[in-house]
Symmetry: C2
Subunit: 220 residues, 2 copies
């Protein structure tokens, strides 16, 4: 048999594992979801993920080692972004596989998102109804994420401002709400808020991440 070169094999697989390790922390996965929405500075990422600045920086170094992120220096600040859509795809697939095979995920998902029976629409339905013009599409992510790229024709109002700015939305129109992706709360919260104010609001079944990966058009 021989199988002499066990060292190079381990080296190759350990290199793969470096990328695996990048996916091995919940905080890093939260950072990846944020980065999938567009580039951000370390400081912004740390705040958005609820992390200590140095902790966030360390996690970003881990992601960088795996080649998952790239940086752009602009004066004194460093903007991180995903290194490619294949990284976003890997991230999305990991979550899907985890949901498919890990019993704890659906439970945690419902506990986080609130398993209300809110209606969902698919990307295709949204596109069709947007063309037909009988709905408003509402993006409830933070402004910078909306600005970095959103569904063409969507109105952008962050959830936090939605209660105050609800009058910007037409009264008689059904509202389709979306946010970052399949496991993002923002749209859930927004739909609950809108429904509480007597609006007809439904959710896109996932969000910007899946929309972009599916090759649908993005406006910036």
């Amino acid at each position: 048999m021989a199988e002499v070169p066990t060292r190079p094999k381990a080296q190759l697989y350990d290199a793969f594992a470096v990328s695996g390790k990048a996916l091995a922390s919940g905080k890093r996965l939260e950072l990846l979801e944020l980065l999938a929405q567009g580039e951000r500075t370390v400081d912004a990422l740390a705040k958005a993920a609820g992390l200590n600045l140095t902790t966030a920086s360390a996690h970003l170094q881990t992601l960088k080692q795996a080649g998952f992120v790239a940086i752009r220096r602009e004066g004194v600040r460093v903007h991180y972004r995903l290194a490619g859509d294949d990284v976003a795809l890997l991230f999305a697939l990991l979550r899907k596989v985890a949901e498919n095979h890990q019993a704890a995920v659906p439970a945690a998902r419902d506990a986080y998102l609130g398993d209300d029976g809110t209606t969902e629409v698919t990307r295709e339905e949204l596109s069709a109804r947007l063309r037909a013009g009988d709905v408003v599409v509402l993006d409830v992510r933070p402004v910078e994420e909306y600005l970095a790229g959103h569904i063409p024709g969507a109105v952008g109002i962050p959830v936090g401002e939605l209660a105050d700015r609800i009058n910007e939305l037409p009264e008689d129109c059904e509202i389709i709400v979306y946010c970052r992706g399949e496991y993002c709360v923002l749209a859930y919260d927004a739909v609950r808020l809108l429904a509480g104010r007597g609006r007809r609001a439904i959710r896109l079944s996932d969000g910007m991440l899946e929309w972009r990966l599916a090759g649908f058009p993005v406006a910036a």
Copy 2:
């Protein structure tokens, strides 16, 4: 802003991270590649991966926690298998993304496989030439992997036995060799051996893993 429920969010992402952790060790990735070829007992996996039995068992428990593998008991032994093709897809995508974005991977890959200029053929070419009948397709994986599923019409001779059984291959025919997947050495070694004996041998550009994931037919 509020963002009260930070606990459930962390819980959800930590659950995703459990699946991420399953990909965070080179040895576990080696086990995944083996499992992608078909089910195996703990003992067989440990031997094939060069691991202590208890270590292998522990790694398999980690994979099981992530839901990546399922088991089947048969008398005194336990057979592990991948829980679904989505797991194999995730595994394959991880390796691809690592190769795309991590500089160390191509280097480690060449060091392991030997970057000889051997010719490759695609799955489609292989299919066409197999139909045309002007080639022999050779599977050089261990017998149990060949038996668990192989390219229809392929001859199965493990690399270790190839030198002794080379006369089972027709002389005048080009030989297309394949093994487990894109990063598996077996086909590289086999092609070098065959070429050294004056045979015309080329490699399938990847292997069984990618063949199956692409939806090509598998014989068992």
